[in-house]
């Protein structure tokens, strides 16, 4: 699809196919959509591989627009020092993890990173675990953004108690990566819901 005049070379395509879970069509489509986010005069192939796109522009993609986790996702995949923009390869990484053929291990690993990264930057609350605060932030993202859509304090407590009872094996009040991956491996919905397709 050389519509906008920028095409990826064959070697680069093969390399990306080796390094990610995406097919050739998906990589080309991703490149096309990424180039659409760049300003019109910077859409050549070399520039598109070097350019970085701010989060606001990524959020305009329909696949991410309605997602309550869009900020966390972009932050996890960003490789810039300030963690506030995405390059084309970061974008490919994102699509690769969320593709159909990615292994459950990879998906659960990145899911943990997305859920464990708090919303309030730059403190990632990161001792590598999901504690009660992380879980309640997670539940609030799921139930909606308004004030009236959140669960009451007692409901939240009951819910988090239940979650910890199901997944916290060593009963330390937090969920670490292996406990998370263990509970995800038994979750039947995870593979079908943790998917973004352009």
């Amino acid at each position: 699809m050389g519509g906008s005049g920028s095409r990826l070379s064959k070697e680069l395509l093969v390399e990306y196919q080796d390094l990610t879970f995406l097919t050739k069509q998906e990589i080309l489509l991703a490149h096309k959509r990424f180039c659409e986010l760049l300003p019109p005069d910077h859409r050549s192939t070399e520039e598109s591989l070097q350019a970085r796109v701010s989060f606001q522009q990524i959020f305009s993609l329909p696949e991410l627009k309605a997602n309550p986790f869009k900020e966390r996702i972009c932050r996890v995949f960003s490789t810039s020092p300030a963690r506030d923009n995405l390059s084309f390869e970061d974008f490919l990484d994102l699509l690769s993890v969320f593709s159909d053929t990615a292994t459950p291990d990879i998906k659960s690993h990145y899911a943990f990173r997305i859920f464990a990264s708090g919303i309030c930057p730059p403190d990632f609350d990161d001792d590598g675990t999901l504690n009660r605060g992380d879980l309640s932030q997670l539940v609030n993202s799921l139930t909606g953004e308004g004030e009236d859509t959140q669960l009451s304090a007692s409901e939240m407590k009951q819910l988090i108690d239940n979650i910890l009872e199901e997944s916290d094996i060593d009963r330390d009040g937090t969920i670490n990566l292996s406990e998370f991956q263990h509970v995800i491996s038994r979750s039947p919905d995870f593979a079908s819901s943790f998917k973004i397709v352009l």
Binding site: I106, F115, T143, N162, R171, L177, S187, D189
Partner: protein, 700 residues
């Protein structure tokens, strides 16, 4: 209390623990580059990272993409892998290379195969707009289309192809007719209704009910009154092929359904807690990342909220139920007993109604056409279908009212209502078939001694059963189309244009109710399974019917329906759909086996005129096998083999159940031990921190 004790200093300890470091360095896992404590990766460190021991020894085996790194890190890793490969022997290098190219080839083949997938784009857009629950309905429908197509191919290959080849003289073959022996001449009389009547509507009636000009076509069993097809080198045994095709498509359906449901079952059987109420599943896998529009996202938010609140409510109700006093329990159980009897009474009434309708319809169907008015004629022909549809329409409402008094928890209520409706819907077909069977085998209220069946009324009873199935199928199709066109569509128009009326606001726009729709197509599929023996072209007609239904439902979904706040989860759905389909298959096999093995086949038409029952053709074929094979087959099918076999299977099953119980106990013990170890660890860390603080204070 424990988590508060872990303020900053102990966290450092935690990160230095060997267990933490090894988890972080696991094969597929990489610690986040965002860790400010800097024990592991920063972007500059990632160059040194891959050289650590436990990664490099696995490098040559692991595919690069399975590492959770970003693309530039993966590139470096791959370069290292390639330089490492140079140190391998030639044989290993060749092995690596061939495994890589094999993987690439497999991927290309897989990519190509997914392009061939039917309706991929449609289903994907439905998923994006309406979520994975409704998508699973459409992929279920696609599965049924494929299943029916394969069924038709089996029947075509085995039965239709030789007949067509001979009829149209494509190959140099001829039909073989073996004259009947020891059969009463009266049994072989088959009066095909002549086409003397030229009423214009008789063609429409024939088309809708399979009589008249359709009766003698290859649509029905009666057309295949052939005992064999003689090709140049061999004789093709058509009766055997007919029976084998039936067994083949039933076995294929069973295997395919079981294969598809294995993924759902695997997850089900592992969990010990109640499957439907897994909080972790709802929280961690709750959001459909493929949702693309804002309104759907809002709906998903509200449905998640609703679901979480309902589950928490359900838990509170459960605790309340556990605290019931014994007299309350007795009261509730006796009430439930009464209500279940009421449910059985309702079912019995419906079945009796269907029985009466079928008898009436069969008795009055054989009067001449010209004596009746068009509408009345059609009404009598379709009376059983109409009664079945009415019953299926009313009983869910009755069940919904009854279950309110039975005081179950909300999720159990829903499941029980659905199960009752499923059973009701599918059992009605069985009742119809059994009614027909009883009428076929009764001559003036006594057993038929002449031919084994009532040859006056049913000279070719298989064709007539096939006609009933055909009518059921056509009627079901008409009802589905009519409901969509004449109920859903006007409802949407009313809601759009007359939304100021209070009644309309209350009624609201149509929701896409998944259970009802799934029951509808499983009902159609059950009819197909039963009817395919009596009418070999029914699978083909069902395929076309389901294809049309797919497009109609898709259009209706997009234009008429609003998504319901009660969302079905995808995993629940797959399990539920396949379970219902399996029930339908089992309920379809029962009448088939009875009619194949108990009711004598008609002697006037069909491939089994020379056999007592249709199943006898197998016995006859076995008797033509060589001696040793014959005794082997006889041995396997005798009781001396079957009973010990059954007992051994039971023993193996008990062994596995006991093994699973023992494993569960071990898992529980290990969990206990883990939590104790964790408490010990935190206690020790606290003590260590205090000791360090003491020392610092003393020194400072």
């Amino acid at each position: 209390m424990d988590s508060i004790g872990l303020c900053s200093p102990p966290v450092n300890f935690l990160q230095e623990l060997p267990s933490y470091q090894s988890t972080a360095r696991r094969r597929t896992a990489v610690p986040g580059r965002e860790k400010p404590s800097g024990t592991l990766l920063k972007p500059t460190d990632s160059y040194r990272f891959p050289l650590q021991a436990d990664i490099t020894e696995n490098l040559t085996n692991q595919s690069i993409r399975k590492y959770a790194l970003n693309i530039s890190d993966k590139r470096r890793l791959r370069d290292i892998q390639e330089t490492q490969m140079k140190y391998l022997s030639e044989w290993d290098q060749w092995k690596q290379y061939s495994s890589k190219s094999w993987k690439r080839f497999r991927e290309k083949a897989h990519e190509f195969a997914t392009h061939l997938e039917l309706w991929r784009g449609d289903i994907r857009s439905i998923e994006g707009k309406f979520g994975t629950g409704i998508r699973s309905y459409f992929s279920f429908l696609r599965f049924l289309v494929l299943l029916n197509l394969v069924m038709f191919l089996i029947i075509f290959m085995l039965v239709l192809l030789p007949v067509l080849l001979t009829k149209y003289k494509i190959t140099n073959s001829s039909f073989m007719f073996i004259p009947a022996k020891d059969i009463n001449i009266q049994c072989t009389v088959y009066p095909i209704s002549s086409s003397g009547l030229v009423y214009f509507y008789s063609y429409i009636i024939d088309l809708l009910s399979g009589t008249g000009f359709l009766e003698d076509t290859s649509l029905f069993y009666g057309h295949y009154t052939i005992d064999g097809v003689k090709f140049q080198n061999f004789t093709y045994d058509l009766p055997l092929a007919y029976l084998v095709s039936t067994i083949a498509y039933l076995a294929l359906s069973l295997l395919w359904i079981v294969k598809r449901s294995v993924e759902g079952f695997k997850v089900n059987l592992i969990r010990s807690e109640d499957y439907f109420q897994s909080y972790c599943n709802k929280i961690f896998a709750g959001w459909d990342f493929c949702i693309t529009n804002r309104s759907m996202a809002d709906l998903k938010h509200s449905s998640l909220r609703y679901e979480l609140r309902a589950d928490l409510e359900e838990e509170r109700i459960r605790q309340k139920i556990a605290e019931r006093t014994s007299e309350e329990t007795i009261r509730i159980y006796s009430l439930r007993l009464v209500l279940n009897c009421l449910v059985l009474a309702v079912l019995g009434a419906c079945f009796y109604g269907i029985y009466r309708a079928t008898t009436y319809s069969q008795e009055h169907m054989n009067k001449e056409i010209d004596k009746m008015v068009f509408g009345e004629n059609l009404l009598i022909l379709y009376l059983p279908s109409i009664v079945i549809t009415l019953a299926n329409f009313l009983t869910p409402m009755i069940f919904a009212v009854i279950i309110r008094y039975e005081d179950y928890s909300p999720s159990f209520e829903i499941r029980l209502t659905i199960l009752r409706c499923v059973f009701m819907r599918l059992a009605t077909i069985c009742v119809l078939v059994f009614t027909l069977g009883s009428k076929i085998t009764s001559c003036d209220n006594s057993f038929c001694s002449l031919c084994g069946y009532n040859q006056n009324l049913y000279p070719c009873w298989e064709t007539q059963v096939g006609q009933e199935m055909y009518k059921l199928m056509i009627f079901d199709f008409i009802i589905i189309l009519a409901m969509t066109l004449f109920v859903d569509f006007p409802r949407k128009l009313l809601v759009t244009y007359c939304s100021s009326w209070k009644v309309i606001q209350f009624w609201g726009q149509q929701e896409f109710a998944i259970p009802g729709n799934v029951l509808g197509i499983v009902y159609g599929q059950t009819i197909c399974w039963i009817g395919a023996f009596f009418s070999p072209l029914i699978p083909a007609i069902t395929t076309i019917k389901f294809i049309i239904i797919f497009y109609v439902k898709e259009l209706s979904l997009v234009y008429n329906c609003r998504p319901s706040p009660r969302q079905f989860r995808a995993s629940n759905s797959n399990f539920f759909f396949l379970l219902v389909l399996l029930i339908g298959l089992c309920l379809a096999i029962i009448p088939l086996t009875i009619s194949l093995s108990r009711i004598p086949s008609s002697k006037a038409c069909g491939p089994f005129t020379n056999f007592n029952t249709s199943w006898e053709v197998v016995a006859q074929t076995v008797s033509t096998f060589p001696r040793s094979l014959q005794s082997l087959v006889n041995g396997i099918t005798s009781e001396a083999f079957a009973v010990p076999f059954f007992m051994i299977i039971c023993l193996i099953m008990f062994y596995f159940i006991a093994l699973a119980g023992a494993h569960k106990k071990v898992v529980d013990q290990l969990r206990e031990q883990l939590s104790l170890e964790s408490r010990d660890k935190r206690y020790l860390i606290q003590k260590l921190t205090e000791a360090q603080k003491d020392m610092r204070n003393r020194l400072g």
